[in-house]
Symmetry: C2
Subunit: 559 residues, 2 copies
């Protein structure tokens, strides 16, 4: 019998009513806002600053991933189950998946195998409507901008050529990347260039994830930079009086969502920003809610540690005033093979100790980086059937040489049971490893210094180049007073450099800031180090074609 | 003290947990799918065909409305409360409002004064996500179409110039009416003209509202007409294998939503299609659910009786195999003044018996039309403070001459208490008026005959003209075999004619079919008799500007 699909496992799960899950972490059933029987929103009143100080935050990150990903979500879910297995009160606090890619290739993003969050179909579709709300808030601002262009009576004199705010849609729809709107005459608005991003790329998403409450949310929404007037004055969302209505649209989206793991442990899913042009991790509110309700919060940050963990530590920890107590780096044997030169798909899936030996340096660099932050990492080897014994042993012994433990993570096949050892080590390390997180830069530093610090210390670059365009934009950032914000690096996740073909642990390289963007509302500057895809397309044969629902509402073909 | 705003009344309401409301109509609390404490979805399993036959369906329609509307929703909600007041088990089954207009001028659409459905803010915003789901299903089809254009390997050979399927967004956003997509080179799709409609104008909305179950839904979705191939063959959504994934996106949207009136009586809100290019009334599933759970269902159809009721009777009753047991025409004194010549805003709000005398013919025509369908109407005079005693008496006596009762509806100020008399009459008439609905045309008739029947019998036209364009399109309709579908007339709601300036009861006029559309999925042909707005704009000062939410989540400025 073949191993069941994620959907089959999820549909056969013995799912419990969400009120029972809530009870585990002390949420009274009447305080929950139910979305059906298996999803609920948690009111903001459950945030308890005193309890947060006593709880342990476990950050799960990874080596630079192969195109197939390293399974951070799977490990995070499994680790939560593992911690519960050994008697700890733990919740997983993770991102919500985007709807668009579900109909393309990628499929869902709710873990996999026996380490999933459920109800899987709901989570992968509309869930509790957060993405739809973010989309509406984003697009309301767009409608207000174009309405102001049309409106001669109350005109803000916005120069349509300078508008950087784009509409969003949670759909893989390449035809909307670059469009022209406002055609058809004077009743239909001002003609201008426009484009749609996918909803997770919306700054509103980044803002929601960094907001502490409605007031903070409104402030950040009001600070969104829209463009310039014809006389070169910056225009913000607050100039359009947009932030109140946008915040109203987010009145429920601001509340974290409670679901469960396959093993009936609580999981909180909330927010899902991009990990390149944004911070790539769930909301601050969700993390704080988790820390208020459980003793251990397992959370993750998108892509490898050079992007996800760095941003988690420099952006989220900065705004959320939090720090991790344990730091887990997920590595797969296949990723180490990949970094050792097995870059073809058939190749990195086959045992080959030499490739692993060649590729271990990628992991070592991420280990070193952790120590730079004052954090002692634990390595989780996310176990695949194709991993050879000698490969695993090699990784373990190399880690030991660095004073770090590497532990096999067997959550995919065995759920929490396969995560006991990792869970024990996380508990031990959170208490005894002396972790004391320190950021590598101070937000008060110059923009150039902040970028250089990340490039040199985290990526291992020798220097940072700036394009002509980016130099001009840097001046704008200083002029507008945004230079004291953290930086949110946008580069490929596949390499420590800005060149995705450079695998392993590259040395003797420079990175180039091609251009800058700034998310003045979210509160960061975005140095762009490569082409960033903000609106995916569908493949030749979209997954949508194989999906079906029967007369009883039973779904097939969703992966 | 001034009369409170709708929002103030709604926020001060003594709202009950939705499980208590469900209990009133025999829904077990564990069967509900909650969306917070005050909204829930009802499973499809509560539809009971035997009970439906015994229950009474009350259709609320209106005279041709003034720009301010006649208050059909308010009367419907009040009548539901009134029926409960006199001891009947009644539910209101109504449409869900669209989000877009909330930020423009119109404000919400959940009744008014003391005849509202609550929670008002939620209902007017994302509610239970139905509109967002419809939007996604619509736009998934769009993405699949454009992906197919891009896709040389599995190309359907669609001619991009013939595509009639548009994207939708629930936002008042005039700049999206006419756009060009697919710019920026070969990675970004095929360049073509496109446009966004507002979500209630989506055919997916019309389809959802006419579907009986998932199978019917999928069939209708598959039947959506997309455009033609380069060799002139019709392309349908099923050719793109879109209907399964679209139906999955609607897996929850298909279930009716339970809320409550201010007086704690059950109300079901489900679906909200346009009343010109679509059928303008809630889902068949919701109406059937209401009839399964209560003895009286009060429902409404958009705009005046010439559009809303005609479509309800010819389209919804046809597909839903249902018929009304009572038929209420809402008239306001101000509308009758308007139809009597007081067409300016200041004018129709002032007492003036002569204007009412001049305008009564509009109401009389709608009364005559009801009798043509085999239905004896009851007239509800939706009471305003500015109505004079002699005006009301005049309307009552004119109705009496036609053998029809006109009753004052005082729901806005007095809620159900102000609706006792109307409720008693509805109960009486549903049992004793001998209502036996018969459609005016047979769907098997020719398209021209169906249109002529409506134009002559309902509007009072002498004849129907066809533009050259519409004649050519008519041929296409016969060629594609869509001629046996009901017709869904798209014309102005302000007049019985196709010219909105013709008030009262015009005679000696013709109507012109300018063009045809067809909604092959929803299952009707749309003769277009005027310019149809499918994407509204925002006003000079959008309502959004005055909206706010405080630290505790309390909302202001939403009307």
């Amino acid at each position: 019998m073949s191993f069941p699909t994620d959907l089959e496992i999820a549909q056969n799960a013995d799912i419990r009513h969400i009120r029972e899950i809530a009870e585990i972490i002390g949420i009274h059933r009447d305080d929950l806002e139910y979305y059906g029987k298996y999803k609920a929103k948690i009111p903001l009143t459950y945030i308890d600053e005193e309890k947060i100080k006593k709880s342990k935050l476990v950050l799960v990150t990874a080596v630079n991933p192969t195109p197939a990903g390293e399974g951070k979500t799977t490990v995070s879910v499994g680790l939560c189950d593992g911690l519960n297995k050994i008697g700890k009160k733990a919740v997983a606090v993770l991102r919500e998946p985007s709807l668009g890619p579900v109909f393309g290739i990628k499929g869902g993003a709710a873990g996999g195998g026996y380490a999933q969050v459920i109800p899987m179909v709901d989570i992968n579709l509309h869930f509790t409507g957060d993405f739809a709300a973010i989309e509406k808030a984003n697009n309301l601002l767009s409608a207000l901008i174009d309405n102001n262009l049309q409106n001669k009576k109350f005109s803000l004199n916005i120069d349509p050529r300078t508008i950087v705010w784009k509409r969003v849609m949670d759909m893989n729809d390449r035809s909307l990347r670059q469009i022209v709107i406002g055609l058809g005459g004077s009743n239909n608005g001002i003609t201008r260039e426009e484009g749609f991003n996918i909803t997770p790329a919306s700054e509103v998403m980044a803002i929601l994830c960094l907001s502490k409450n409605f007031e903070d949310l409104k402030n950040r929404l009001g600070n969104i930079f829209v463009g310039y007037t014809f006389d070169k004055k910056p225009v913000f969302a607050r100039d359009l009086k947009a932030e109140g209505a946008m915040a109203i649209l987010l009145k429920d989206a601001i509340k974290p969502n409670l679901v469960q793991t396959l093993e009936g442990n609580p999981a909180i899913l909330h927010g899902g920003p991009f990990a390149n042009i944004a911070q790539g991790t769930n909301t601050i509110i969700a993390t704080k809610t988790g820390l208020s309700l459980a003793d251990y919060v397992v959370t993750e940050a998108g892509f490898g540690a050079d992007l996800g963990a760095e941003k988690f530590l420099h952006i989220k920890c900065h705004y959320g005033k939090m720090k991790p107590d344990a730091y887990v780096i997920v590595a797969t044997i296949r990723a180490l093979r990949y970094h050792g030169g097995a870059t073809k798909k058939g190749e990195y899936g086959q045992p080959n100790l030499q490739f692993v030996k060649n590729g271990i340096d990628n992991l070592k660099k991420h280990i070193e980086n952790a120590f730079k932050f004052g954090l002692k990492p634990i390595i989780a080897i996310n176990h695949f059937a194709t991993d050879a014994e000698d490969e695993i042993e090699f990784v373990k012994s190399e880690c030991e040489k660095l004073g770090v433990k590497a532990i096999l993570a067997d959550e995919f096949v065995h759920g929490g049971e396969g995560m006991r050892e990792l869970a024990e080590e996380v508990v031990y390390c959170a208490a005894n490893c002396g972790n004391d997180f320190q950021p590598l830069y101070n937000v008060e530093d110059t923009v150039e210094h902040k970028i250089e610090t990340i490039a040199k210390e985290i990526y291992g670059a020798d220097a940072v180049n700036y394009s002509q365009k980016s130099k001009a934009q840097l001046k704008t950032i200083y002029d507008l007073g945004f230079d004291k914000l953290p930086v949110c690096m946008a580069k490929t996740q596949k390499s420590l450099t800005d060149d995705e073909t450079k695998i392993g642990r590259p040395t003797n390289f420079k990175v180039t800031v091609r251009e800058f963007e700034f998310a003045a509302g979210a509160g960061f500057i975005i140095p762009i180090l490569g082409d960033m895809m903000r609106m995916p397309g569908l493949p030749n044969v979209p997954a949508a074609e194989g999906m079906d629902i029967d007369l009883n509402g039973v779904i097939t073909g969703l992966s």
